[in-house]
């Protein structure tokens, strides 16, 4: 079981020398830095009381963030961070295991390693050992960070860390089983993402169907115990700390790890326990058209970001009833919202700011969708396509139309979601479609971005995606964090987002939209002309 362990372990450290430290540092530092950030925003006890009042009752927030156990800073920290950082830890673990087991087999590296002095179980042992170390580091990092910043939590800070660590390892074990079942990396990662989503929802269902016990704490129903997220939530580290639920992931791992090894022992190298599903022998009518085919390549990106942006819009919608009570009483929060969404009534200003933030998510979808053009070229797929009657310009334009069309749909859908919450939860007067139109005012930014990408594709094909993501990072940074940092106006103005009035709180200005659209059209045309005139990149 261990023969070859050291060599394999060093290989993992070498391959992940950047990735893993980034994950660990990213998760711990971002979590720890939430402490001063939240303290600043919710300084007064009255804020916490108001939050507690609404979050304990509201089914939607119970479903998403879990119960707020008491009106304390610990209660706030729990609902703002616990489950969300849990999501990140879950993904870190499943990706880690898949990368070092199933991916090795798919690449053929496993075969090569097993032909040497390596036990057939050693890869799994090494990957799980790495997961243990990574989760211990996360647990210790969180525990040390939280306890040094907030003394009142006592050992609860460490309980938070260890709950997270054991929760993470439980996901590593789940991944260790899933990779035995299916044959491809993609399917394994897809299945695991699905399981993460499903168990996240189960925990929410457990919360909503739970009951308040005699001591005033919400006890989730039994459904929660089916979900690792339920185990995580059960320790309540910053409010009513309980150590015994840590036993659940420990027992789970003790049972599940042998199952993973047993499955591994039953199957061939490179194969999965589950039979490989047959695909279609013929291309569907849709796939046979160049538009349908382009859609096929783009659709996973589209649906992924659509779900993400709708989840974000729903979260924002859930927050609406709490806005006046929470933000209304905090002067610093009011100033912040006004700097993003404009002065005026609190709710529209807040929502206008939020719409610009969801627009950034949609912009990320556009960046990823456009980057597909570069991927298709560098992976030699484009060469096969262009040897047919498909013209270069048509190829690029089809991708761009689908990406931008998808972007428009996402904007409209997030706007519609927010509008539904506004009309259901407030008595703010509303024009039909107001928020949909407000979200769509960001469309010219998407078009501008697509235009820039096509220009890059024409001029510096190998660098296009890197430059595009860097630009995206700048725009996102300016939109999300610019208002906090009180930067010079001209630095903010370099981002196209700064030129769009935050509707519906502010009056939409047409001029910037027209100018942006015109610029994107010019960039697009220049980019396409240059793309038509250059060599296709080949390996």
């Amino acid at each position: 079981m261990f023969k070859g362990f050291l060599a394999l372990f060093r290989l993992i450290l070498r391959r992940d020398r950047i990735k893993l430290p980034l994950w660990i540092l990213g998760i711990t530092t971002s979590l720890v830095s939430m402490v001063p950030l939240l303290k600043d925003t919710y300084a007064e006890q009255s804020n916490l009381d108001a939050l507690y009042g609404s979050f304990a009752r509201n089914a939607a927030s119970l479903f998403l963030t879990g119960p707020m156990d008491k009106p304390s800073f610990g209660g706030l920290m729990t609902i703002e961070t616990y489950i969300w950082w849990g999501l990140a830890v879950a993904f870190m673990n499943t990706l880690l295991i898949v990368r070092h087991t199933r991916l090795n087999e798919e690449m053929g590296a496993q075969e090569l390693m097993l032909s040497g002095q390596v036990h057939r179980h050693a890869t799994l042992t090494t990957a799980l050992t790495t997961a243990v170390i990574v989760n211990v580091l996360v647990a210790v990092g969180i525990g040390a960070g939280l306890s040094s910043l907030e003394g009142s939590w006592g050992s609860g800070a460490w309980l938070y860390g260890f709950s997270m660590g054991l929760f993470g390892f439980a996901w590593a074990v789940i991944a260790a089983i899933v990779v035995q079942l299916v044959q491809s990396t993609r399917t394994a990662n897809g299945m695991l993402a699905g399981l993460i989503g499903m168990t996240f929802v189960l925990r929410g269902v457990g919360n909503v169907t739970g009951a308040v016990s005699a001591d005033g704490i919400l006890q989730p129903s039994w459904v929660s115990w089916l979900s690792p997220f339920g185990w995580l939530q059960a320790t309540r580290p910053l409010t009513f700390p309980e150590w015994w639920p840590l036993l659940v992931p420990v027992v789970f791992a003790t049972v599940a790890v042998p199952v993973a090894y047993w499955l591994l022992g039953k199957r061939d190298v490179g194969a999965g326990v589950l039979p490989q599903r047959k695909g279609r022998a013929r291309a569907s009518r849709v796939l046979r058209t160049s538009l349908g085919f382009t859609w096929r390549l783009q659709r996973n990106i589209f649906f992924g970001w659509l779900v993400g942006s709708l989840a974000m819009a729903t979260t924002i919608g859930v927050l609406i009833p709490e806005l006046d009570s929470v933000y209304g009483e905090s002067e610093s929060a009011r100033q912040l919202v006004e700097s993003m969404g404009g002065a005026g009534a609190m709710v529209p200003a807040f929502l206008s700011a939020m719409i610009s933030i969801t627009a950034i998510m949609v912009l990320a979808a556009v960046a990823q969708g456009m980057s597909k053009l570069g991927v298709e070229e560098s992976s030699a797929h484009l060469e096969s396509l262009l040897a047919t009657k498909l013209p270069r310009v048509k190829w690029a334009v089809l991708h761009m139309l689908i990406v931008l069309g998808g972007g428009a749909v996402m904007l409209a859908a997030t706007g519609a979601t927010i509008e539904v919450f506004v009309s259901a939860e407030t008595d703010i007067p509303l024009e039909a479609g107001e928020y949909i139109v407000a979200a769509l005012t960001y469309f010219p930014v998407l078009a501008l971005f697509a235009g820039i990408y096509v220009l890059l594709l024409g001029v510096v094909p190998r660098m296009a995606s890197v430059v595009a993501w860097t630009l995206f990072g700048y725009v996102a940074f300016m939109t999300w964090l610019g208002p906090f940092l009180k930067l010079e106006q001209w630095i903010m103005d370099l981002s196209p987002m700064s030129h769009i009035a935050a509707a519906p709180a502010q009056e939409t200005e047409l001029m910037p939209l027209v100018i942006m659209s015109a610029i994107s059209l010019v960039l697009l045309v220049i980019g396409l002309v240059l793309f038509r005139r250059r060599d296709i990149q080949t390996s």
Binding site: G279, A281, R282, A283, F293, S379, E383, L386, T538
Partner: protein, 238 residues
């Protein structure tokens, strides 16, 4: 001017990538109805030449004619008359072999259903598997079936048999012979001298971006016992 007899005409073709000279005054003529072998060591410029013929790369200098037209300016119209097997077979990992064959056939202007069915059977290829799950040889078969299912006047095949076993190699050779009988033109870039010797009417040998010889196989055999002796002699001169 363009000669009707020639499907591909290349005169003094130069292609530079920055300061690197990939093709340096290269000449080649492929006549209508012949199977033309294209030989040369790795990095000699075979794939670059083919990509210029396909209009994927822009020539630096010289003349290139495909069916008497400029493949850079009229690539799209010209592509309805040819099918291509790339040297580096890499298709979409999440599409099945069958879907890829249909898709490329359709984009080329349609494929021959009977041929498709016959080729899948002869090459013993399961079209229901996702491309990423195929072995190297099976990936090559997907590319071959996709190209040979189309009824077009010209087939451009860049090392089409790499990864095929001897049995499949024989089936491939049978297919090329029957294409020749139908009067099709084939440009076959290859490493396998016996394959070229068995199939080709003429051979162009390329070395460091220049054509070093252009013979019919009959002419060649007069001077040398076989193709291998000739090929090696070209590389032992300097």
């Amino acid at each position: 001017m363009a000669d009707k007899e020639y499907v591909i005409q290349i005169k003094k073709l130069t292609k530079k990538f920055g300061s690197f000279v990939a093709l340096d005054g290269f000449d080649m003529n492929v006549r209508k109805g012949e199977v033309h072998g294209f030989l040369g060591p790795n990095g000699a410029g075979k794939s670059t030449t083919i990509r210029v013929i396909l209009g994927l790369l822009k020539k630096t200098n010289g003349d290139v004619m495909l069916f008497g037209r400029d493949p850079w300016k009229e690539s799209v119209t010209l592509h309805s008359q040819l099918a291509y097997v790339p040297g580096d077979v890499n298709f979409w990992p999440n599409l099945t072999g069958g879907e890829i064959i249909d898709l490329l056939g359709k984009l080329r202007g349609g494929l021959d259903e009977d041929r498709r069915k016959r080729l899948l059977e002869k090459f013993d290829l399961d079209p229901t598997k996702k491309f990423r799950t195929y072995s190297k040889g099976n990936r090559q078969k997907v590319a071959l079936v996709a190209a040979l299912s189309s009824d077009v006047p010209l087939y451009i095949l860049d090392e089409p048999t790499s990864g095929l076993d001897p049995l499949m190699e024989k089936i491939f050779q049978d297919e090329i012979r029957s294409l020749k009988k139908e009067g099709k033109t084939v440009l076959l870039s290859s490493h396998i001298l016996s394959e070229v010797e068995a199939l080709c009417d003429r051979v162009t040998i390329i070395r460091a971006g220049k054509a070093v010889s252009d013979y019919t196989l009959a002419e060649l055999k007069k001077e040398h016992a076989n193709l291998e002796a000739h090929f090696l002699s070209q590389y032992e001169v300097e």
